[in-house]
């Protein structure tokens, strides 16, 4: 994979603009860098050099080097702010693919892949909790695909989405059984395992013969909508929509007043990867009484929550530090709620608010909309 990007790797001019800015709405170009010891290899400039070294067989790949490679959340803030427009996100993903292909993974990511292979969820077996077994499949208009993290770690989002779809009179079902879209494996470089997960999940999805696959997770959306056909050769032929695309027409005119000061956290995959900055903001602005305020870093500049790229699973302290940094931006703009539409951001913020004792609530977009519809 890296070999295909040789020219792009050599485009890096080593200017170092990808470290910190603290200027024009960008604090840390690399969100994790301040929470690491801070070596060159812990932000984009050094990582590009190491990707090149991997491609050219210049260095021995050690566990420590793998840690530095995988401390990147793949948020693409460096790419957004690279003055010579190096496709850093693509390079860092290709680097992981090559590392994984050579048998170099972090143990925790290998465990996740095994969990998906055996239990169809990042999180392994379900334990004792019931109530999430497969419903009897039937032909539906909309199949809500919550994805692993939402269904296991953000049940309130599943419930809010189901409630909302019900209130809106949608013919829907929720894919309650464990089914991983494969994105967490894809982003940690395990593409063939991701494809196996994709095949398994699509087989479940097709039992409902849906017209639309609806997601509340930008990663599920990206992989189902784009990566399956473009990179995995899977043509499922079903329309895939993220809630922020699906809901505007349905909720218009039905939303009651919410006296709430909300700031929108752009999930990296929804924002920088897919360019969807306006859709969720448009939905929030439809809610009467809701005041939408922006953080210091927003839209293209939005700081990552620290969860992506497999970082939350592998580097708890780094992930939590980045999340607290981001939450402090929400506190600074005096929002009562930090809203998002990504289960990884949701979970990372929720646990960090608790740990740091912050006076802040995290809500998913659908929770807010559901509250606004009586």
């Amino acid at each position: 994979m890296l070999e295909k990007l040789r020219h792009q790797i050599y485009q890096c001019s080593r200017c170092g603009f990808c470290r910190v800015w603290e200027w024009e709405g960008v604090e840390n170009v690399c969100p994790t860098y301040p929470f690491t010891p801070g070596w060159e290899s812990q932000y984009a400039r050094g990582r590009v050099r190491l990707a090149r070294a991997t491609m050219e067989g210049e260095v021995e790949i050690t566990p420590a080097m793998l840690e530095h490679a995988y401390q990147c959340t793949l948020c693409r803030n460096c790419e957004e702010h690279c003055p010579v427009e190096v496709p850093l996100g693509e390079i860092f993903h290709a680097w992981r693919v090559d590392l994984a292909a050579a048998g170099h993974n972090l143990p925790v990511h290998r465990q996740i892949a095994e969990n998906v292979a055996v239990h169809h969820s990042l999180y392994g077996p379900r334990g004792g909790r019931k109530g999430a077994e497969a419903s009897e499949p039937r032909k539906v208009s909309v199949l809500y695909f919550p994805g692993c993290t939402t269904i296991r770690k953000a049940r309130r989002v599943v419930k809010a989405t189901a409630d909302l779809l019900g209130k809106l009179g949608v013919d829907y079902a929720v894919l309650e059984e464990d089914a991983c879209c494969g994105y967490p494996l894809y982003e940690t470089g395990m593409v063939s395992q991701a494809k196996e997960a994709a095949d398994w999940s699509l087989e479940r999805i097709k039992r409902y013969d849906p017209d639309i696959i609806l997601t509340t997770c930008p990663s599920c959306y990206r992989v189902l909508r784009f990566i399956y056909p473009d990179e995995m050769g899977i043509q499922h032929g079903v329309e895939v929509l993220h809630v922020s695309q699906y809901l505007p027409d349905l909720v218009a005119g039905k939303l009651g007043e919410l006296d709430l000061r909300v700031t929108w956290h752009d999930p990296c995959v929804l924002g920088r990867h897919l360019g969807m900055y306006d859709e969720p903001r448009h939905l929030l602005r439809l809610v009467p009484g809701l005041e939408l305020v922006e953080m210091y870093s927003s839209r293209e500049n939005a700081q990552c929550c620290g969860a992506g790229g497999g970082v939350m699973a592998a580097f708890d302290a780094i992930s939590g530090g980045v999340a607290e940094d981001r939450l402090q931006q929400a506190v600074a703009c005096e929002a009562a709620v930090i809203a998002t539409s990504c289960p990884a951001c949701y979970v990372n913020f929720q646990r960090t608010i608790g740990k740091a004792g912050l006076d802040m609530q995290v809500k998913d977009l659908v929770e807010i909309l559901n509250e606004a519809i009586p």
Partner: protein, 446 residues
């Protein structure tokens, strides 16, 4: 060298998390932003305080290990490389220590990035004089050590001219405060007092005499008005005459000449002050320009757009690759000859993509030649490596004086200056301060 022993001693000083001998990390410290060949250090260490720097240098002096200071790694002449020694990175030392609105000075640790410093000052209604074009990554410690120039060259001259005082660590570990801070009862508020100007010892020494750990710089109230406008000329001699007259009359904050081609010279003027002052200066500038036929007025839009995102935009010119840079000062009268001479060498070597630029000073100008290549292009890299020595030799022969020398200029400086009292004095100071030659050996030619 017993590497484990050295590692352990360094770890005792800074903590084990701030020293490394991991080959994959060392690899990322083998080069800067330029085209000097890679050099592998044995260790990289990231101290957090002046006292830790002092302990590191004492250890290095005891064990005779060379030490190369490094800021943001964004210079182009290989000044922060180390062959088998210690790279001492200052980025953990990133605090603003004091914004003194009484004396109009700001004191910072060496490793803060310029953009962070300038953003904080701007929010409080202040600015520094010289902002380097690599402000996104560059640090005051490194910029003073070169000493760098930047936006503000005509009004504020160089970063060295902005220094009020420095705190530096000598190769033996002694900590020196310069200027008024040399008096233990005083802060840093005045440079030329008490005795000889010791700040000047470190400005431009590129770490050969010690490590700058703190700097006190002048700061200025944020101007009421900043106005830019652009011109395009087609005659280099006329353009240089315009630069001279504007500069000698001190009418601008800076003139930027980012494009010099055989038939086109593009230049922007930046004027700052109160509204009346700016308007008056503009009238005088336009009157000077009007004396020369064929100069096109391009208005404020282009340069103003650039100015809004200036720190970011300076990086964009490197889309053509990493640049071999030959930058030096010359008096105005020699700029035209230098432009043609540098161009002739680059053309003769068949350099595919190069840029020529000027950034005038009050007494002359920085003359810039940048030769771009992507590191995978070995053929182009070889051409650049052949052109560089010729260009540096030619520049020095013409009376050119580089400010950022690093390892790139070192052999050429020695060749042209080696038989002078100036050179002998530099060497004598080096020997007196650094008897074991541990401080960044090889830079400047020391």
């Amino acid at each position: 060298m017993d590497k484990k022993y050295v590692f352990d001693r360094l770890a005792e000083i800074v903590g084990p998390e701030h020293v490394t001998d991991e080959p994959f990390i060392l690899l990322t410290y083998t080069q800067d932003f330029g085209t000097q060949p890679p050099m592998w250090p044995s260790f990289v260490v990231r101290p957090g305080t002046t006292e830790e720097v002092a302990e590191i240098l004492k250890l290095a002096n005891e064990l005779r290990i060379p030490v190369s200071p490094r800021g943001g790694g964004s210079a182009q002449e290989g000044g922060c490389q180390s062959d088998g020694g210690i790279v001492l990175e200052t980025l953990r030392m990133d605090k603003i220590l004091d914004i003194d609105e009484d004396t109009g000075t700001v004191t910072v640790e060496a490793g803060i990035t310029f953009v962070k410093l300038m953003d904080v000052l701007e929010q409080r209604g202040w600015k520094i004089g010289i902002a380097p074009s690599g402000a996104m990554a560059g640090t005051p410690g490194a910029h003073i050590a070169r000493p760098g120039v930047g936006w503000g060259n005509i009004k504020y001259v160089t970063q060295g001219d902005q220094v009020v005082g420095l705190k530096a660590v000598l190769p033996t570990g002694d900590i020196v405060s310069t200027g008024s801070a040399g008096n233990p009862n005083s802060d840093s508020f005045f440079r030329y007092c008490l005795g000889p100007d010791l700040a000047g010892l470190f400005i431009g020494s590129e770490g050969a005499y010690g490590v700058i750990t703190e700097a006190t710089l002048r700061m200025y109230p944020w101007p009421e008005k900043i106005y830019l406008e652009r011109y395009i000329g087609h005659n280099l001699r006329d353009a240089i005459d315009i630069f001279r007259e504007i500069a000698l009359n001190n009418l601008v904050c800076y003139i930027s000449v980012p494009v010099i081609k055989p038939d086109m010279i593009l230049f922007d003027v930046n004027v700052e002050g109160d509204a009346v002052e700016v308007d008056h200066r503009l009238e005088r500038i336009r009157a000077i320009v009007r004396k020369y036929p064929g100069i096109e007025f391009k208005g404020p839009e282009g340069p103003s757009r650039f100015w809004e995102r200036r720190w970011f935009n300076t990086g964009e010119e490197f889309k053509d690759g990493i640049a071999g840079a030959v930058n030096y000062f010359l008096p105005f009268e020699k700029l035209e000859e230098a432009t043609y001479a540098m161009r002739a060498i680059m053309d003769r070597h068949g350099i595919q993509k190069y840029a020529q630029q000027m950034f005038p000073e009050p007494m002359g100008s920085e003359h810039v030649s940048l030769m771009f290549h992507h590191p995978g292009d070995k053929e182009e890299y070889a051409k650049i490596q052949r052109a560089l020595p010729e260009m540096m030799d030619k520049a020095l022969s013409m009376g050119g004086c580089p400010y950022s020398k690093g390892r790139q200029w070192a052999p050429h400086l020695e060749k042209h200056l080696g038989n002078t009292g100036y050179w002998r004095t530099l060497k004598a100071i080096k020997k007196a301060l650094d008897p074991n030659n541990i401080m960044n050996p090889g830079v400047v030619g020391l």
